[in-house]
């Protein structure tokens, strides 16, 4: 049966995704708030497997990968569809920055989009002689805006204009061929004035013209420019629709509101929810030149991550109906939004990443992961010798994505590790419960160490934070009971840091020996 995917968006990135998916015989449903589709889509209209819903918003989404039930609204008409995957590629918005410079838009003080608008361009270029383009003077800019400012300036210069100034703080050239573009602009006679710590001052006259005064940082001389046209740069912000989509789908957002949390494990096109992907202008600031890569990667992510049956049930969380009291703790904390809320609570195994946050946090101990319990009970003794009479026995709880990899690296390059080290590899440090920590302290002659991913690097978003908080509370408990709190320590580490792992463990062992 063909894979069915909902694509939300109506720009060129969304188009490229749809085009890619259709070429792999994926059945595509397009949903957009706009009243008509971008003209690019006309190329693929003929292909009858595409279902298009304009003026349509997403109302709700239940289920998991392979079986999402989407309820959409089109002029109060309700549309229900079941899809395997969802891709979000809504175009970003532009925000003008007039206010940040204390300016108001006028015929003489215009935005970058106004200048680039083909309808206005000829008149503006014909009727005016001098131009100042402002870029990144109040906020750090980006290569996308940088390219547009330089392209527009070069276009004006080739139109015969000779007085063109670009006023910038850090000139952003970390984009495809932008340094070469910068050189080209300078050759075309465009004057770049760079600011570091100082800023120009802006005054706007009655006629709408902007006067710019500044001290040149190199010559220390004062200058005043009153160009015919002042072009104010813009910032790139997420579509206002993303906030609604984030709520509807239970997706995490970054500090600017784009639909992918600032977490390297989400790269390139993933979200916190299995089967929901995000691309291009919904994922962050990206240039239209990058949309091909964004769309290609999102499409292949759909193709490669839609096999809903490709899992072992023993790795997934299971809620024991008898123990559950419907406190909704699991529903609240599940980072992958895969707890289904019906008459009884249940885990949708297709969407479960097996992180075990719910198993450790459930106040009734009503959630289990079969393979996880097994791991806790029988730590892997094969790699490192477990008991040594002279050395303290150390239990190290290691997150499988970071610390356990760092441990393997340390072993592979032959670094020294404590003799009495016992590694307990867990899918995520968030699965380490109070009981696990207390049991480990009870059974270890030496100490217990919990090694998690660095903050902001947890595949389950906050599993490491849960682990640290839990250890902190145990630490207080044991020190209140007169037990040395140095026997329980927590650290953060990355998968590629073998030497650091060895240093942390050896220091820990030394401190434990010193205690005795």
């Amino acid at each position: 049966m063909a894979l069915k995917t909902l694509v939300i968006g109506n720009g060129s990135c969304a188009f490229d995704i749809v085009d890619n998916l259709l070429s792999k015989n994926v059945e595509v449903i397009i949903a957009t708030r706009d009243n008509s589709l971008h003209q690019k889509f006309s190329e693929i209209m003929g292909q009858n497997i595409t279902e298009i819903h304009t003026e349509t918003t997403i109302h709700s989404c239940t289920g998991a990968i392979g079986n999402f039930t989407i309820s959409m609204k089109n002029n109060n008409k309700s549309i229900i569809r079941i899809v395997d995957c969802i891709v979000i590629a809504e175009d970003s918005f532009r925000k003008t920055l007039f206010a940040s410079y204390g300016l108001s838009p006028s015929t003489k003080t215009i935005s970058l989009s106004d200048l680039d608008n083909p309808e206005n361009y000829k008149n503006i270029a014909d009727e005016n002689k001098s131009f100042v383009l402002l870029k990144g003077l109040k906020f750090e800019s980006n290569p996308v805006i940088s390219k547009e400012v330089m392209d527009s300036s070069i276009k004006l210069a080739s139109h015969g204009q000779s007085k063109i100034y670009i006023l910038t703080k850090n000139l952003k050239v970390a984009g495809n061929r932008l340094e070469a573009l910068y050189r080209k602009a300078k050759k075309a006679g465009i004057i770049f004035i760079k600011f570091t710590d100082s800023e120009p001052e802006f005054f706007q006259g009655e006629d709408g013209k902007t006067c710019i005064e500044f001290t040149d940082e190199v010559t220390k001389k004062n200058f005043s420019l009153t160009p015919d046209i002042t072009v104010v740069d813009e910032s790139i912000v997420p579509s206002d629709y993303l906030e609604t989509l984030a709520k509807t789908f239970g997706l995490n957002i970054d500090c600017s509101g784009f639909l992918q949390s600032d977490n390297v494990h989400r790269l390139p096109a993933y979200t916190n929810r299995k089967g929901i992907f995000v691309a291009g202008p919904s994922r962050g600031i990206s240039s239209p030149e990058d949309y091909k890569a964004e769309a290609g990667t999102a499409a292949i992510a759909v193709l490669n991550n839609s096999d809903k049956n490709n899992y072992d049930i023993k790795d997934k969380a299971y809620i024991n109906k008898g123990g559950c009291v419907r406190c909704l703790t699991c529903y609240r904390i599940c980072p992958h939004k895969t707890i289904s809320l019906n008459s009884t609570l249940s885990v949708m195994p297709e969407g479960c990443e097996g992180c075990g946050l719910c198993t450790a946090e459930c106040p009734k101990n009503a959630i289990t992961i079969e393979n996880l319990d097994h791991k806790f009970l029988i730590p892997d003794d094969k790699i490192q010798n477990a008991d040594s009479a002279s050395k303290p026995r150390i239990t190290a709880f290691c997150c499988s994505r970071s610390a356990a990899e760092a441990y393997k690296l340390a072993v592979s390059i032959g670094l020294t590790l404590p003799e009495g080290l016992k590694i307990v590899e867990v899918p995520c440090a968030g699965s380490i419960s109070l009981t696990h920590i207390l049991n480990s302290l009870k059974n270890s002659t030496g100490g217990t160490i919990i090694l998690t991913c660095h903050e902001g690097n947890c595949f389950s978003e906050k599993g490491n934070v849960f682990a640290h908080n839990r250890a902190k509370s145990v630490s207080k408990m044991i020190s209140d009971a007169g037990y040395k709190k140095e026997r329980l320590m927590t650290y953060t580490i990355a998968s590629n840091m073998g030497k650091e792992f060895s240093n942390i463990l050896n220091d820990f062992e030394k401190n434990i020996i010193d205690l005795e």
């Binding site: 890619n20 070429s23 792999k24 906020f139 750090e140 980006n142 290569p143 850090n170 000139l171 952003k172 050239v173 970390a174 495809n176 061929r177 932008l178 340094e179 070469a180 050189r183 760079k194 570091t196 940082e217 190199v218 500090c255 600017s256 600032d262 977490n263 390297v264 494990h265 790269l267 390139p268 096109a269 990058d290 091909k292 890569a293 964004e294 769309a295 290609g296 990667t297 292949i300 992510a301 193709l303 096999d307 049956n309 490709n310 899992y311 072992d312 790795d315 990899e405 690296l409 991913c453 660095h454 903050e455 690097n457 580490i493 990355a494 998968s495 590629n496 840091m497 030497k499 650091e500």
Partner: protein
């Protein structure tokens, strides 16, 4: 643990040249589509330059992406559709619809037949020996890659001359990038992020370290750049000037001469250690591969992109120009999909 449906031997095969980030990303996506991948790598190890990079977190992840490489490596070793060939050098390459490649591995020869090929041969770090910064002549002038390796392998920052934590460090940006005299008319994209993230890590290890950052323009990186940059401006000294040269002073301390725009004159200042942020330059095999495979290079010497879909040879990652780990992963995915689409079209 994962139940993999057994689908038999892959029917289609793709050659991936280069086992760095982009090559691994492409290989993994292809393999998931049940396409056989011959991943050839000239060095003995996979992971490329990124495998040498250190984690730059100080408790909090700074999103450099270096740890992601470990995950990609692990997955590619585990994937039965990926056949890894390290220590290989391409001898012969023929493309008559079916791509025939012959490589030398140690003393033997291996041949592959592939339906498409992806060039992900990476970049060459700029060699700064001919710049007037005393690299290889002065012990305490190192590159950012040397520093990354030191952090990763030693879990420490020390001066090579006396193995002591330096009290003052200068980072010099754009060494071999944005340099008209070398005809390097490109920004290397990643050095500002790398240097500032390492600087933050050093400040967190030893807050009293005095760090100076010499730069032309600070490039945007990461999702929270504004906040990161504002906080770094408080922690380190930023000097918008690229030094003229470096001499050696007492105690193996490099002495930097630079133009101070505030004082409007040239200044000599002594640092305990200098880190050169070296740029990304075209891979040393680009010219050879370009001739062998008949794929054009641009005027900078990187591979041109998006022009080869008709021949079944695609380019990805830093072989096309400087890019970050994140961008190389994306680009590998794109190239993989293009190769898949090409194979599908050819089948019709």
């Amino acid at each position: 643990m994962i139940k993999r449906k057994h689908k038999g031997m892959p029917k289609k095969n793709v050659l991936v040249i280069g086992g760095g980030v982009a090559g691994l990303a492409a290989a993994l996506e292809l393999a998931e589509q049940e396409i056989g991948v011959d991943l050839i790598e000239k060095s003995e190890f996979l992971g490329g330059h990124a495998a040498r990079f250190s984690c730059k977190a100080s408790g909090e992840c700074v999103k450099c992406g270096a740890c992601i490489v470990v995950e990609k490596l692990k997955k590619s070793f585990l994937n039965p559709n990926i056949r890894i060939h390290t220590g290989c050098k391409i001898k012969k390459f023929e493309n008559n619809g079916i791509i025939k490649t012959r490589v030398d591995k140690e003393s033997s020869e291996i041949s592959f037949e592939s339906d498409a090929a992806i060039i992900a041969s990476g970049f060459k770090p700029f060699n700064p020996v001919n710049k007037p910064f005393g690299y290889k002549r002065f012990n305490n002038v190192i590159t950012n890659i040397d520093l990354e390796e030191m952090l990763k392998l030693e879990d420490d920052v020390v001066r090579p001359s006396d193995k002591r934590f330096p009290k003052s460090i200068a980072f010099i940006q754009c060494v071999g990038s944005r340099d008209e005299s070398l005809n390097h008319l490109w920004c290397s994209h990643v050095c500002c992020g790398s240097a500032l993230r390492v600087a933050k890590k050093i400040k967190s290890i030893k807050p009293e370290t005095e760090i100076t950052f010499f730069y032309i323009d600070v490039q945007t990186f990461g999702k929270d750049f504004q906040e990161f940059y504002d906080s770094m401006k408080q922690e380190i000294r930023m000097v918008r000037s690229i030094p003229g040269d470096i001499l050696i002073s007492d105690n193996d301390c490099p002495q930097i001469t630079f133009f101070d725009s505030e004082k409007n004159c040239s200044i000599d200042e002594i640092f305990e250690m200098v880190v050169l942020s070296i740029g990304l330059t075209p891979g040393e095999d680009n010219k050879n591969l370009s001739e062998l495979m008949d794929i054009k290079l641009d005027d900078s010497g990187f591979f041109k992109s998006g022009e080869n879909s008709s021949t079944g040879i695609f380019t990805a990652g830093t072989s096309r120009g400087p890019m970050s780990i994140e961008d190389a992963i994306l680009d590998g995915g794109r190239a993989a999909l293009e190769a898949i689409k090409y194979i599908d079209r050819k089948d019709l």
